[in-house]
């Protein structure tokens, strides 16, 4: 009877999901409600988790509820702590959630809402959630080893080296592109800059509170921090209206870039308890709270989607970023569908906290499904905008022209009508000087979020919601920037230690300063180039970030496939091989096009060629930058090929019995629970 009811329920969920997809894909001309994206997505997630995750858990990894986890065996009240699975779910989700699932879908909306939505749903089910789950289980069985260590031990040292290169590269590009998003959101915005600037003294206060005044009282300090932050947010309006104050907080792009560079360096060399740790807690609370509010607001409002399902730009003429829908829709949306960076987090604190092996599907697979849901919400927020407004905000000034009139003419060429006065009125509503060509995704996401949140709670006013959204994004992006610089610094110190021993000493100040300086110089260079790029920088940097991220995902899936084959379950290895094959196709195609395409808007080298002989004084630097970006893309493609080749060799050796399959798992110990 129970099985019968279960069968009926799941069939109903399936039908509902299919109906959702049908409504999204087949309706033309009439506006579709956001409800259908939610229905299609949520139904798919539940079915995938119930059937696919369970299949992987039982048949592929044979998760054993009687096997003691490292949290139980090595329990130390600190990092190895057995944690209830729902609490750990929240912890893991808070760790993987970031700016990625918000920005990617916003940019990909230029193709219409359908490609991005389909990739978010199908990609996560077959790729991203599988990857997170795989690496979580692999690390769990190896007492919390990191991805790099597993790549070296289970595959071969070549793969381990490739993993390290990939991690360092993605770190640099990721930090540059996220910092660029913040610069584009905060330039010429005194309200926004004031609020974000306030987060620094607020964090310092929290740091002192938690270290000196009331040791360890994180919740208390965070409550104070959030309150002060909201006060700063409200005060920002006054700053933007006062002529003197607003002038002090109106910075240009290059100025902001230098500000973030200096901040990133300082935050990563100062003691962790002073700035980094309080910022991390502050941004985590804000992140969780805002995502919850947005979800509830979307569920209440169910706004209609005004962006069409497919726009003409699927053919590659897109103004926000160049490239056809294949492969670039799949590169632009990384976090939310499949993200290699998650493999680093999934082999971080979470495996050491699992109470039981059988909790892993919920946390690894389910956590990523939630991230994908956040991506869906961002897609909804972007698609509820008037398409003309969406393009007016996300297309660089080099294409749109200097003012609203030229923008309206350009947008009309694409088939959308920008009513006169719309952008001015919107800017005024949001408390900004202008919203034209505010590229990077954050401002248009903020406008979308403001209309949704403001649609449910109109009290605070749209301007406050807009700046709340900007603050929320900029806050946790900047926290990623300083934490990421610190991680990059540790990696460089480790590498440096091989060259000269003292460099590897992580608390030796000269080494700290040197390695932090190098990491900051790395992302700072790309950030600065992006800021002065007339096409807005996101155009060239975001695809590089997407390629790097998916390169790391390919590394993770190679590790997963190797482990599955070595465990003697090669006939199930398709669960990681299918997404790996897709990733390889997408990443290599995208990389190839970014390097060799003849369209100067798409190919780096073509763009460089088009600038040769130009009278623009910045041209030589832009040409060099194009060549550097092309070189980077080639390096990424090379690493993908090397990793897959090195792994494939291991698979062949094991499958043809030329090599004994040695799996480096921790020994089986019966659980005491």
């Amino acid at each position: 009877m129970r099985r019968f009811l279960s069968g009926i329920t799941w069939t109903a969920v399936g039908v509902l999901g299919a109906a959702g997809f049908a409504m999204l894909a087949l309706r033309r001309g009439e506006t579709v409600s956001a409800a259908w994206i939610l229905v299609a997505g949520v139904a798919s997630y539940f079915i995938a988790h119930r059937f696919y995750a369970r299949y992987i858990a039982l048949k592929v990894y044979a998760l054993d509820g009687r096997r003691a986890t490292p949290a139980e065996r090595l329990s130390n009240g600190r990092d190895f702590v057995p944690t209830n699975k729902w609490v750990l779910y929240g912890h893991h989700f808070a760790a993987i959630a970031g700016a990625g699932p918000l920005i990617g879908p916003t940019l990909a909306a230029q193709f219409g809402f359908l490609p991005g939505t389909l990739w978010l749903i199908v990609g996560v089910i077959l790729g991203g959630a599988v990857q997170d789950f795989t690496i979580l289980v692999a690390s769990l069985r190896r007492d919390g080893k990191s991805l790099g260590q597993m790549a070296k031990e289970e595959v071969n040292p070549v793969a381990g080296m490739a993993a390290m290169v990939a991690i360092l590269a993605i770190m640099i590009i990721l930090l540059a592109v996220l910092a660029l998003v913040v610069v584009n959101a905060l330039k010429a915005s005194p309200w926004g800059l004031f609020t974000i600037a306030c987060t620094i003294p607020i964090a310092l206060l929290m740091g002192w509170w938690m270290k000196v005044l009331r040791p360890g009282r994180v919740l208390e300090a965070s409550a104070i921090g959030v309150t002060l932050l909201l006060l700063a947010l409200v005060a920002g309006r006054g700053v933007s209206l006062d002529p003197t104050w607003s002038r002090w907080f109106t910075w240009t792009g290059p100025g902001l870039a230098w500000g973030i560079i200096v901040y990133g360096f300082a935050a990563s060399v100062l003691p962790v308890w002073l700035l980094l740790s309080p910022r991390d807690y502050l941004s985590t609370f804000l992140k969780i709270g805002t995502v919850l509010c947005l979800a509830v607001a979307i569920l209440i409002l169910l706004p209609p989607l005004r962006m069409p399902a497919l726009t003409a730009f699927t053919d590659g003429t897109g103004p926000v970023f160049a490239g056809k829908v294949f492969p670039f829709a799949f590169i632009t949306i990384a976090c939310g569908a499949i993200s290699g960076f998650h493999a680093l987090v999934a082999s971080g604190t979470t495996p050491k906290m699992l109470m039981r092996e059988t909790d892993a599907p919920l946390i690894g697979y389910g956590g990523m499904l939630m991230e994908s849901f956040v991506g869906l919400m961002a897609m909804i927020a972007a698609a509820t905008l008037d398409p003309a407004v969406y393009f007016a905000m996300n297309v660089p000034a080099a294409t749109l022209g200097p003012d609203a009139a030229s923008a309206a003419r350009k947008i009309a060429e694409w088939g959308f009508t920008l009513q006169p006065g719309t952008m001015e009125a919107l800017a005024q509503q949001m408390g900004e000087a202008t919203l034209l060509s505010r590229t990077g995704g954050a401002p248009s996401l903020a406008v979308g979020m403001a209309s949704i949140l403001g649609g449910v709670m109109s009290g605070p006013g749209l301007a406050l919601w807009y700046h709340f959204a900007i603050m929320f994004e900029a806050l946790f992006i900047l926290t990623t920037v300083d934490a990421g610089t610190r991680v990059g610094r540790f990696m460089l110190q480790e590498l440096g230690g091989y060259v000269w021993k003292p460099l590897g000493r992580t608390s030796w100040y000269p080494s700290i300063l040197l390695s932090s300086g190098l990491v900051v110089a790395g992302w700072g260079y790309f950030l600065y180039q992006g800021v002065i790029d007339p096409l807005g920088g996101i155009n060239s940097l975001w695809p590089l970030f997407g390629i790097a991220n998916q390169l790391l995902a390919a590394v993770a899936l190679c590790v997963g496939t190797t482990i599955i084959i070595k465990m003697g379950r090669a006939r199930h290895a398709w669960v990681t091989l299918v997404p790996l094959a897709w990733l390889a196709a997408v990443t290599l195609t995208a990389g190839w096009q970014k390097v060799f395409a003849t369209d100067p808007r798409l190919g780096f080298l073509a763009h460089a060629r088009s600038l040769v002989g130009s009278l623009n004084t910045a041209a030589p630097r832009m040409i060099m930058n194009d060549r550097l970006d092309a070189a980077l893309a080639l390096v990424f493609m090379g690493v993908v090929v090397v990793v897959i080749a090195a792994s494939a060799r291991e698979w062949w050796l094991v499958l043809s019995r030329r090599k004994a399959p040695v799996v480096h798992e921790a020994p089986f110990v019966q659980t005491a629970y």
Binding site: R78, G100, L178, L219, S277, C335
Partner: protein, 67 residues
């Protein structure tokens, strides 16, 4: 009435403990419990020292947060 207040307070303590685990905050009471269970003879770290130690390993070499 007394019992109800106690129950509410118990619930609040538990909820706060869950919140701490989700955001990755240190839980000194849990450390003390663990210490009493496993290292009963020795002196546990003071609150200040515990927090300093916690922060240094939590924000150590590996990435704690994603993009």
């Amino acid at each position: 009435m007394q019992a109800r207040l106690l129950w509410a307070r118990e619930g609040l303590t538990r909820a706060l403990r869950v919140l701490r685990q989700v955001v990755g905050a240190p839980d000194y009471e849990r450390y003390l419990e663990h210490h009493a269970r496993c290292h009963a003879g020795t002196e546990p770290l003071g609150r200040h020292a515990f927090y300093a130690d916690f922060v240094s390993w939590r924000f150590g070499p590996g990435p704690t947060r994603c993009c």
